[in-house]
């Protein structure tokens, strides 16, 4: 049982308030490399490395080369040079990152023809990143094979946002010792289509029907807030949040065609 609930959550909120990508951008734009923005960017890299790696790999590189290039991209990103180049258009962080990535790949392609890279460059450990926040995304093989690298990037991005929100929600539940209740109820978080069988679920988690409904309702509300917060971190204004979610849903839906 944990008793000091508020401390952990305020700390978390504070952390997120300072990782807004706009902060990263403003410092990158003015070439002021503060510790805070550096830390913020590092945080974002840790969160969004999967779409970047997936994009690079989809371009046909070997696993090891793709991992090395991803690392190199991060190093350049953290040095602030790539974002400076990409800033003029502004726009959403996702699009910006993709543009920076594309520029980077053109760049390195030119250089690679001239000299072979060192290889094995690893400023973060892949295993650590994976262990810290494993992803559970699965997509049928045949689907992926027909997708463009850009679509792979977007699908991976969408999954990262969703998994990040789920993880944050789980942490909040864990803080009050209800991690496993969350596990049991996670399946009820998707858009409600009236197909949740409450009596069965109630029996499974050992809660009365009415109480379960209240918990699920709260979980859903909180999940919504967390996911929107997650998206908000990658756009400039609150008004863009819905647009960004719609865009990602569209990518996912068209992936089925």
């Amino acid at each position: 049982m944990t008793l000091n609930l508020p401390a952990a959550t305020t700390e978390q909120a504070h952390r997120f308030a300072t990782t807004r990508w706009s902060l990263v951008l403003s410092s990158a734009g003015t070439a002021h490399d503060t510790d805070e923005s550096h830390e913020a960017l590092g945080q974002l890299c840790r969160l969004y490395w999967r779409p970047i790696f997936a994009f690079i790999y989809r371009r046909g590189l070997s696993l090891v080369d793709a991992q090395d290039l991803t690392q190199e991209f991060f190093v350049r990103l953290l040095n602030g040079k790539l974002l400076q180049k990409a800033v003029p258009g502004r726009g959403r962080f996702r699009a910006l990152l993709l543009r920076a990535l594309q520029n980077f790949l053109i760049d390195t392609h030119d250089k690679r023809s001239a000299q072979k890279r060192g290889g094995g460059l690893e400023f973060v450990s892949w295993d650590d990143w994976m262990a810290e926040a494993p992803s559970h995304l699965t997509v049928p093989v045949q689907a992926i094979e027909s997708w463009s690298a850009e679509r792979v990037f977007d699908v991976r991005w969408a999954a990262t946002i969703v998994e990040q929100a789920l993880r944050a929600l789980r942490e909040e539940c864990e803080i009050c010792g209800r991690g496993r209740l969350f596990d049991a109820l996670q399946g009820t978080l998707a858009a409600d289509r009236g197909d949740t069988c409450y009596p069965q679920l109630a029996a499974e988690v050992g809660l009365p029907d009415a109480e379960l409904k209240r918990v699920v309702q709260q979980l859903r509300g909180r999940y919504r807030a967390l996911l929107r917060r997650e998206v908000a971190l990658t756009v400039e204004t609150e008004a863009e949040v819905d647009d960004e979610i719609r865009y990602l849903c569209k990518v996912l839906a068209s992936s089925a065609e």
């Binding site: 969408a158 399946g187 089925a256």
Partner: protein, 915 residues
């Protein structure tokens, strides 16, 4: 290695399209949730979006109390895999914060210390392997009596997940298997066999490199040595060599691992294992009777050399396979380099000829053996030297080590009686033929045998047991155990007169024992379990899951555990094990959720368990635990002693009986039981916090302090060590020091209610009521009826009531009256325990009802309450502190504590003398 670049695994796990019915998207999370629908849920923004406080408020209010779940030094993050006998979690190490994979072995015999030690030895051997393609084991440990080990967390999934993608790339398959074969060859050189190589035991790291897991540990996933039966129940034998599926463990050598490597390669290349069958037995039979199919008969596009390599691994005869895993690795590497491979598939004609020849040789050998045997007997009659050797061999075969029997009435090893028994037994056994009977510590001093049936050690069998007095006679419960692993061979209960009991026992069981010892293979003697719940695979699996869930002790887990076990009972109503397990889970619910509601069900389940199998130690023990929860202390102690008769070294029994004595004010007996040497050594390593508490009750603060220090050093992850030290300061009037200790540690142990409660008690007894109120208010909010099992019986409600009656008398009175109500309701279940009376005394005193308070205090003293030092500084007793009757109770308790201290020193010196 071919990744899709999108999932963490080198291969996406979904092979079939499973588009979401609602939106048509194909991207799913592992539980099956659709990513698109999860995004859409956030778009649906009509309702207000609550902050974290609302959620926490609602969650805190629901009646599923789970604790943050920990195993040893690890916090469990999520379950990532589950098999018949093991569960794997992603977990975080407490201090290093490293994320690891933690594998917990679920085993019925996990209770036995010997089994745990063997597991530990073998896991440590596996942990000593250091090879880039073997997944490192970090730590081997034990929690709740079940062993676990931790290893590097490999995010890339296993070969079985990647198999579908790999199949398109035979070169990659071969490259991977060459590395795996090199790793296996290395382990073989280190003297370790794997015994369960299969795609699920080969993981991939983030770079797609293979990592072999579970070296030599596979068998621990099932405690039954009977591979065939456990396979039939739990898994597919598709990757297991025929000699391994059929034969005893001794027949299995490196060649069995080579067979498995071939089967895995076959599976990767062909997309199916070499043998398919409707059930495990059919697969085993086919593997033994038919040769493996040719790889190219399944897929003609596969390279001919790969077919030859697989075929060579999959030969039925171990000798016909590659001579070593290194040879296999070399051939795979040759193939990769485009060099000619060494292996040649034996032509069919030759194979048949060899088969016939081998069988002919077998027949001839058999006849020859008979002839030589006859000749040997003749020569033996002639040559004395030979005769001596044979006698020695027979004596070794008929060897028994007698471990000290336990006097369960006095919690003492009965050394003299055991010595007499060994003498009688030796004489009696030798009337049947050569036999060796030694006491522990006498004769060859080596650890018991390590061979399959104990042949490797000096004693093939061990004799242990208990004695107690019943109706003027002595009741002896006697166990013959296999030397290698202490598996039970024989259990007898004998009633005899005190005089000549040892001789009577020898006469009664001697012939039986000798005939068991004359059996060549002791594994055939081990009585098979007859419990229908353990024989039926589905019921057994429910029982195991139920027990595992129960051991987590969280509210939600307990309810799930109870559901699992009720299901097991519905499947096998005649299962004693299922009933006992249910009683245990319900007992945990009573103890950890402070509710009496499941008591009747628990009692009924325990009674059923005993009725269904009166010889089951587990059934008696779980019965004892439930009786204790019901407040029937003397019956609980009795049932516990019976449990000990049936399984004399059960750690749980010893722990329970020690806790019971502690709760009824007998710290001397609690200590005696807890430190009882069984089989020559104490069953629990080193002093624990529990022993510290007992010493403190017996006014031996220096020994208490040493015990707490020791425990804290061993288990820094548990708060009990520093809590004990803190309490010692408090009892001795060193409030400042107590406060320092509490402040230093409590913040790191926030998720332990006890730690917060310790801090609250320091402030309460130290009379900083403002701080104490804040802490107790938080505790009370979480669990209004909690806290009374803590030091000094300070329940949250009564402490808070006492504090508030100073500032807000009406509120304080209300709390205290509620606490009284709830205590009186529970009193009928606690007639023999002092705590409820003591708690009532504290409540009445806080309410100012002097007479009632003194009345309850007298009852508590009579029932055995001795913690007068807590009482002396407990603000709840302020109102009656000057009453003569209070002081009388206090001095009675003090006198009793002194007597118990004396009694413990008597027990201790008696033990020292017998040693």
């Amino acid at each position: 290695m071919k990744w899709d670049g999108i999932s963490d695994s080198p291969a996406p796990s979904l092979q079939r399209t499973a588009a979401c019915e609602a939106c048509g998207s194909e991207a799913r999370l592992e539980g099956g949730s659709c990513v698109s629908c999860l995004l859409l849920a956030a778009l649906d923004d009509a309702e207000e979006t609550p902050g974290p406080e609302n959620l926490q408020w609602v969650l805190a209010g629901c009646e599923v109390r789970e604790q943050q779940w920990k195993l040893g030094n690890y916090q469990i993050l999520e379950e990532i895999g589950r098999g018949g006998m093991g569960v794997i979690y992603r977990a975080r190490q407490r201090y290093s914060k490293r994320v690891v994979a933690l594998k917990r072995v679920l085993s019925y015999h996990g209770d036995s210390r010997e089994t745990l030690e063997r597991f530990r030895r073998e896991a440590e051997a596996a942990a000593s392997l250091d090879h880039p393609n073997i997944l490192p084991i970090y730590e081997v440990g034990e929690a709740d009596g079940m062993p676990f080990f931790t290893m590097k967390y490999a995010a890339g999934g296993s070969l079985s997940r990647a198999a579908a993608v790999l199949r398109a790339d035979p070169r990659e398959c071969v490259r991977l298997m060459a590395k795996v074969a090199r790793a296996v060859a290395y382990a073989h050189r280190e003297g370790l066999l794997h015994r369960d190589l299969k795609p699920g035991n080969i993981l991939l790291d983030s770079r797609g490199e293979p990592l072999v897991i579970d070296f030599g540990l596979a068998k621990w996933m099932d405690a039954d040595a009977d591979v065939t039966r456990s396979l039939a129940i739990f898994g597919t034998p598709a990757f297991i060599a025929p000699e391994q599926a059929h034969g005893s463990r001794s027949a299995v050598g490196p060649a069995a691992d080579i067979y498995s490597l071939g089967a895995v390669l076959f599976d990767l290349l062909a997309g199916r294992p070499p043998f398919l069958g409707d059930h495990a037995i059919a697969v085993i039979r086919d593997a033994a009777e038919k040769g493996a199919p040719k790889l190219r008969s399944i897929d003609p596009n596969i390279d001919r050399d790969l077919e030859t390599i697989c075929g060579k691994c999959l030969e039925r005869e171990p000798d016909a396979r590659y001579g070593s895993a290194a040879e296999l690795a070399e051939d795979l590497e040759r193939w990769l380099d485009g060099r000619p491979i060494r292996a040649r598939r034996t032509p069919l004609v030759m194979r048949s000829a060899r088969w016939v020849r081998r069988n002919r040789v077998h027949t001839a050998t058999f006849i020859l053996c008979i002839l030589i045997g006859g000749a040997a007997v003749t020569r033996q009659m002639q040559g004395k030297r030979m005769q001596g050797e044979l006698t020695a061999r027979a004596a070794a075969q008929h060897s028994v080590q007698v471990l000290p029997f336990l006097d369960v009435d006095n919690a003492q090893p009965c050394t003299d009686w055991t010595t007499r028994l060994a003498q009688e037994f030796r004489q009696h056994l030798q009337t049947f033929g050569p036999a060796t009977v030694h006491l522990l510590g006498e004769g060859p001093h080596r650890e018991a045998g390590t061979g399959a049936d104990g042949a490797g050690g000096p004693y093939r069998t061990l004799l242990s047991g208990t004695i107690r007095r019943v109706d003027g006679q002595i009741r002896i419960s006697l166990h013959l155990l296999r030397g290698s692993d202490r598996a039970p061979l024989l259990h007898e209960v004998v009633m005899a007169d005190a005089k000549g009991a040892a001789a009577a026992v020898s006469r009664h069981v001697g012939r039986n024992v000798y005939s068991i010892l004359s059996t060549a293979d002791l594994t055939t003697v081990t009585p098979p379990t007859s419990d229908p719940g353990l024989l039926a695979p589905d019921a057994r699996s429910f029982i195991q899951q139920g027990l595992e869930l129960a051991s987590r002790r969280g509210g939600l887990d307990l309810d799930r555990s109870i559901a699992c076990l009720e299901h097991a009972i519905a499947l096998q109503p005649g299962s004693s094990a299922a009933h006992a397990a249910l009683a245990r889970a319900l007992g945990y619910k009573i103890a950890y959720r402070t509710t009496q509601e499941p008591l009747e069900r628990a009692l009924e389940a325990a009674r059923q368990a005993v009725a269904l199998d009166p010889r089951s130690g587990d059934a008696h023990l779980d019965h004892a635990a439930v009786l204790y929860h019901a407040g029937r202390v003397s019956e609980a102690i009795e049932a516990n002693k019976v449990a000990l008769e049936h399984s004399p070294s059960a750690r749980r029994s010893i722990r329970l009986i020690s806790n019971i004595y502690d709760a009824i004010g007998r710290p001397d007996l609690a200590t005696a039981w807890f430190t009882l040497p069984i089989g020559g050594q104490p069953i629990f390593a080193g002093p624990s916090a529990h022993i510290g508490d007992c010493h403190a009750y017996m006014l031996q603060d220096d020994r208490a302090e040493a015990a707490y220090q020791h425990y804290f050093k061993l288990h820094p992850e548990q708060p009990e060590g520093w809590m004990g030290l803190c309490r010692l300061h408090l009892l001795n009037g060193r409030t400042h020091e107590a406060r320092l200790v509490a402040q230093q540690h409590s913040s790191s142990y926030r998720d332990f209610t006890y730690a917060v409660q310790m801090e609250a008690q320091v402030e309460f007894f130290g009379r900083d009521f403002a701080k104490a109120e804040e802490l107790y208010a938080r505790l009370y909010e979480r669990d209004p009826s909690g806290g009374r099992n803590f030091y000094g019986g300070v329940a949250f409600a009564s402490a808070l009531g006492r504090i508030r009656s100073g500032s807000d008398p009406a509120a304080g009175k209300k709390l205290l009256e509620e606490a009284r109500e709830s205590e009186l309701r529970g009193l009928r279940n606690a007639a023999e325990r002092p705590l409820p009376f003591y708690h009532l005394a504290a409540i009445e005193s806080s309410l100012g009802n002097t007479e009632a308070a003194l009345h309850h205090l007298a009852a508590a003293t009579n029932a055995g309450w001795i913690d007068y030092r807590s009482m002396a500084i407990d603000p709840r007793f302020d109102a009656i502190r000057d009453e003569p009757a209070f002081q009388h109770s206090s001095s009675t308790m003090r006198r009793r504590a002194e007597e118990l201290k004396l009694n413990w020193s008597r027990i201790e010196s008696a033990r020292a003398q017998t040693n």
